[in-house]
């Protein structure tokens, strides 16, 4: 099917010619060698390449052909080969840009890629070949665009999007319509009042101009993403421009089809206009509905994937793509369908799938969207070289100017109206960035390309103008937006990772504001959000999320996610090695837990006087458990440590967590932190393999406490006299391994019989659970 798009007689022609030469040489060689084997050797070269046959016939006797030991059959693999070649080219280019030190910080990637495309197109043209129509609309809309939109939709930050959805819709719908009519109308007027020579411009009809206006006025999500990704502006502006670029698809689709339809007829009545409005609602809401349905299907499917984790990512991709295709089938807005699908399915799918699948989805989406984006820009460059062009100074320059002017007026006018309804108003700086960030891109070009040459006589001129506008916005606006952002001191994105405190208070605020709204007595934004959340919790989550997690409150889900992330980070950084932290902190739980006055200090220091039998028992337990520890440790390496916990499913982890909590309650809750006595390998190893609770208590932000534990190599502990360890630990005061007497109220164990319990504590310290639920068959903590 791709044959249509990548012209066989185009780019690939040079390669078969070379292959042919090789074949000739080989066959001549073969002709001088004894012909091999069987009488009826199959004719391997099975295509219409006449040269091949002729050459083969010459070097061979009448009855049988020479068995071709080496054959070149280019046409067989031509299409996938060319596709791969393009993708490879795109990726290598991307690599190359980042290797050149200063380049990527001055020039945005999109510009560089377009230049590369221009070069490649130029080279092909120089070689005398016909440039393949790479930016064919079907290829673009069905293959190149969906990954980018899905990536955007799946990772769409829902909260800022929803908070600003009114503003975004205003810009997307009203702004685009305004732009289309302003540009189209004024362009028609300018063309009409052309002085002097009866230029071809006179013959443009109004509807054609309006159609052109609607094509050129849509802000392009690909271009916006590409440029805005590099400037890191604050979340609000990013979501405004980006959201607008996504939601204006519905408007573009409707306007485009409307004008294409009626351009043929020549007139548009009020009825048609009215139908257009209805059509817009159908397109937009229909697209969202289709997307939401597929999203819910995907979420529901993911509920049952606990036994086939491997294909989980597939469901996400396939359902989303089908949502896109289904929407396109009905001429609904495919982009909105994709966004809706991704946004709807995400919270439920993420609660159901394994951690690895989550990573897979994330990286596949990023990879595909990155490659797509790169290809799109390169193809834009190639298509520019290809043409067909028809340059008309007036038309093109007027278009560019009108686009800019329309955008500015639109943004300023709309902001004036919007600010009356917004609580946090948009400042002039914000308006400038929104206006300046209205970049056009490949969608406009593809839509122009779709126009029928017979119906639209000025198609070439339109395409030229579109390309010029695209180049202008991407190069000029794209390159200058970064310095402008710096100059205007626009607020940048906050890099800090979300902390548990922020999450607690975000939730707290949500409830607080809902409560205050209820006291005030009017149903505002928060009230409805709260209602939706409760509905979600009560009904939807139960259907779409498997098992226990359906009841998990959001805060706890966040907390678990953080713990996991930290545990992974910890393990990936080598286990005991110093964790990357900006502000190494020595704070640990012991600094926070309320202190109780310690009983007679003297007793604490004394060695436990254990009855002989007890000591033997303890020794036996220690030995056996240490052995187990050692075995486990030997089989550990950085990679296997991560392997196990996340495959068991989350509920198992929760159960183990429970046990850990209980274990912790019985233990003294001193979590491992720094200043461990470096000369006790057993302790080191034990702490390396200490319980996950220890790790989970660490804060997420940069100021993660330093764990200075050496990843001791699993030496044989046989020689270690464990009781000596106790003695040594005892004497070392104020180290992290301090054994304080048990605390009363915070749920830890009661003092009881001082000696044995203290001993037990020391035992537990030594033998703390090796690793986050790594060992499946260790079901209960090995307390004596």
């Amino acid at each position: 099917t791709f044959h249509k798009y990548l012209d066989p007689s185009g780019f690939g022609k040079s390669l078969p010619e070379q292959g042919l030469l090789l074949l000739v040489v080989l066959v001549l060689l073969e002709g001088s060698v004894l012909p091999l084997g069987a009488a009826s050797s199959p004719d391997v070269s099975h295509q219409d390449d006449s040269h091949n046959h002729k050459v083969a016939d010459h070097g061979v006797n009448a009855t049988k052909k020479v068995f071709p030991v080496l054959d070149v059959d280019y046409h067989h693999i031509q299409t996938p080969f060319e596709i791969s070649l393009w993708v490879l080219l795109a990726s290598l280019m991307k690599l190359g840009f980042h290797l050149i030190p200063r380049l990527s910080s001055i020039v945005p990637e999109s510009c560089l890629l377009i230049v590369v495309g221009l070069l490649v197109g130029g080279l092909i043209k120089l070689a005398g070949e016909q440039v393949p129509p790479v930016l064919d609309s079907r290829l673009f809309f069905l293959c190149l665009l969906p990954p980018i939109i899905l990536d955007a939709g799946y990772f769409l930050p829902i909260r800022p999007f929803m908070e600003n959805v009114g503003t975004i819709l205003m810009f997307a719908v009203v702004g685009t319509v305004w732009n289309a009519f302003f540009v189209g109308g004024l362009l028609y007027a300018v063309c009409q009042i052309q002085p002097a020579n009866p230029s071809s411009l006179h013959s443009i009809e109004l509807l054609h101009c309006l159609l052109f206006g609607s094509i050129i006025s849509a802000v392009d999500p690909v271009a916006v993403l590409a440029v805005f990704e590099e400037i890191h502006i604050n979340e609000l502006l990013h979501i405004l421009v980006f959201g607008e670029s996504l939601l204006n698809d519905a408007v573009t689709v409707v306007l485009y089809h409307l004008f294409v339809e009626y351009a043929g007829v020549g007139t548009v009545t009020v009825m048609d206009g009215f139908l257009g409005v209805i059509s817009f609602l159908v397109v937009a809401l229909g697209g969202v509905l289709v997307g939401a349905i597929y999203g819910i299907l995907a979420a529901f499917t993911s509920r049952f994937t606990s036994h086939t984790r491997v294909i989980e990512p597939l469901f996400v991709f396939v359902y989303s793509y089908m949502a896109y295709l289904s929407a396109e089938m009905f001429h609904l807005s495919g982009i909105m369908a994709l966004i809706a699908c991704g946004a709807v399915m995400r919270p439920y799918v993420e609660a159901n799938i394994s951690h690895k699948s989550h990573t897979t989805i994330k990286y596949f989406l990023k990879m595909w969207s990155s490659v797509s984006e790169t290809l799109i820009f390169i193809f834009l460059g190639v298509a520019t070289v290809d043409g067909p062009h028809s340059w008309n100074w007036t038309f093109v320059t007027v278009t560019v100017i009108l686009c800019l002017v329309a955008r500015v007026i639109g943004v300023v006018g709309l902001t004036y109206i919007i600010n009356k309804f917004r609580i946090v108003k948009l400042t002039t700086k914000d308006q400038f960035i929104v206006a300046y960030g209205g970049l056009r891109g490949a969608i406009a070009f593809s839509l122009g390309f779709l126009l029928d040459q017979n119906q639209f006589a000025h198609r070439k001129m339109f395409l030229t103008a579109i390309i010029t506008v695209i180049f202008f916005t991407v190069f000029v606006q794209g390159m200058t937006i970064k310095p402008l952002v710096e100059l205007l001191a626009v607020k940048k994105k906050q890099e800090a990772k979300r902390s548990i405190n922020e999450e607690i208070h975000t939730q707290f605020l949500d409830h607080l504001l809902t409560g205050i709204e209820d006291i005030c007595g009017h149903y505002g934004h928060h009230h409805w959000k709260d209602k939706l959340n409760r509905f979600n919790k009560k009904y939807v989550k139960k259907c779409l999320i498997a098992g226990e997690r359906s009841k998990e409150p959001q805060l706890i889900a966040f907390y678990h996610k953080m713990e996991m992330k930290q545990a992974i980070e910890l393990v990936e950084s080598g286990g005991g090695v110093k964790l990357p932290s900006a502000v190494p902190s020595t704070v640990s739980m012991q600094n926070i837990q309320p202190k109780k006055p310690p009983p007679a200090k003297a007793a604490e220091r004394a060695l436990p006087q254990l009855p002989k039998g007890r000591e033997e028992e303890i020794r036996k337990i220690l030995r056996s458990n240490l052995q187990r520890t050692r075995q486990r440790l030997r089989s550990y390496n950085r990679h296997t440590l991560v392997a196990d916990p996340y495959e068991d499913g989350f509920s198992d982890l929760l159960i183990k967590k429970q046990k850990m909590i209980e274990l912790e309650k019985k233990m003294n809750n001193y979590l491992t932190v720094p200043a461990a006595p470096p000369d006790s390998p057993t302790m080191c190893r034990a702490r390396l393999a200490s319980d996950p609770q220890a790790y989970s208590m660490k804060p997420v932000s940069d100021s993660v406490p330093v764990i200075q534990v050496d990843l001791a190599s699993p030496q044989s502990p046989d020689s270690v006299n464990v009781m000596d360890e106790f003695r040594r630990a005892n004497q070392e005061e104020d180290q992290g391994l301090m054994m304080k007497p048990p605390q009363g109220s915070s749920g830890s164990n009661k003092p009881g019989e001082a000696d044995t319990t203290r001993d037990q504590q020391r035992l537990m310290r030594c033998l703390s659970d090796p690793g986050p639920s790594a060992d499946e068959d260790e079901d209960e903590p090995f307390l004596p």
Binding site: N419, I423, V424, K425, T427, Q494, A496, I500, N501, E502, I504, H505, T506, F508, L509, H511, L512, L513, G515, I516, D518, I519, C520, G521, H522, G524, H525, H526, H527, E548, K551, P553, L555, I556, Y559, V583, P584, S585, T586, V587, M589, Q590, N591, I592, Q593, P594, Q658, I661, V673, S696, M697, K698, P699, V700, S701, S703, V704, P705, D734, M738
Partner: protein, 220 residues
């Protein structure tokens, strides 16, 4: 009509200066106040507890408590009221005003501090100037109170982790024997710096005068 309007404006002028609301907003809030209090001069806790919509709110008690907290009246008093009048009601509500386009950077700072102070007071129930671990635990428990058993178990761990985070961010180097008393207001400000309270902690106050929509009704 004209005379009564100026009289009401004068009556509200004082309140406008103190709280920053506009006349329209104050009038609407007064109407609500009368609705809640049953046309009395003051409202008590029961009046607020009877609001049906609040029943589902996990931190209901703290919200209601905040209205009766003397610390939120900006008059350096401590303790709590039994009943509050309209002025106190309005004072508490004024914490939820959004910044306008004309708000300067300084004013934004003050606003942020004020809002953070409100939140701090909600957590610091014994008014000792710090949020201790117990108080924080309680706060998180309340937050998760509508989430059943899972909520309760997780609450302690989360509160502990959060406290640890505050301590590590603000006092990174503590000896093992040091004890972190509790979150002071400065530390509280520090950890919530990223949330930009002045842009988040606000609700929409109605400006429209709803009485004009009801034809023929006599109003005060």
């Amino acid at each position: 009509m004209g005379a009564s309007q100026t009289r009401s404006e004068h009556k509200y002028q004082d309140l406008m200066d103190k709280t920053g609301f506009s006349v329209e907003q104050i009038k609407n809030l007064h109407k609500r106040f009368e609705q809640l209090s049953g046309n009395e001069e003051t409202i008590s806790r029961e009046n607020l507890e009877n609001i049906p919509a609040l029943a589902n709110n996990p931190i209901r008690r703290q919200i209601i408590g905040a209205f009766f907290d003397k610390r939120n009246q900006h008059q350096n008093e401590v303790g709590s009221f039994e009943e509050i009048g309209f002025e106190q009601f309005l004072m508490v509500m004024s914490h939820f005003r959004p910044p306008t386009l004309k708000t300067t950077e300084e004013e934004r700072e003050t606003m942020r501090k004020e809002k953070l102070r409100f939140l701090f007071n909600m957590h610091d129930t014994d008014n000792d100037g710090t949020i201790t671990l117990e108080e924080y635990r309680k706060a998180v428990e309340e937050l998760l109170s509508k989430s059943g058993a899972i909520g309760q178990e997780g609450a302690k761990a989360i509160a502990d982790a959060a406290m640890l985070e505050v301590a590590s961010t603000n006092v990174p180097h503590m000896a093992p024997d040091d004890f972190y008393e509790g979150i002071t207001f400065e530390h509280f400000e520090q950890i919530l710096k990223g949330l930009e309270m002045e842009s988040r902690m606000h609700i929409r106050f109605l400006d429209v005068d709803t009485t004009t929509m009801r034809c023929g009704r006599s109003t005060s």
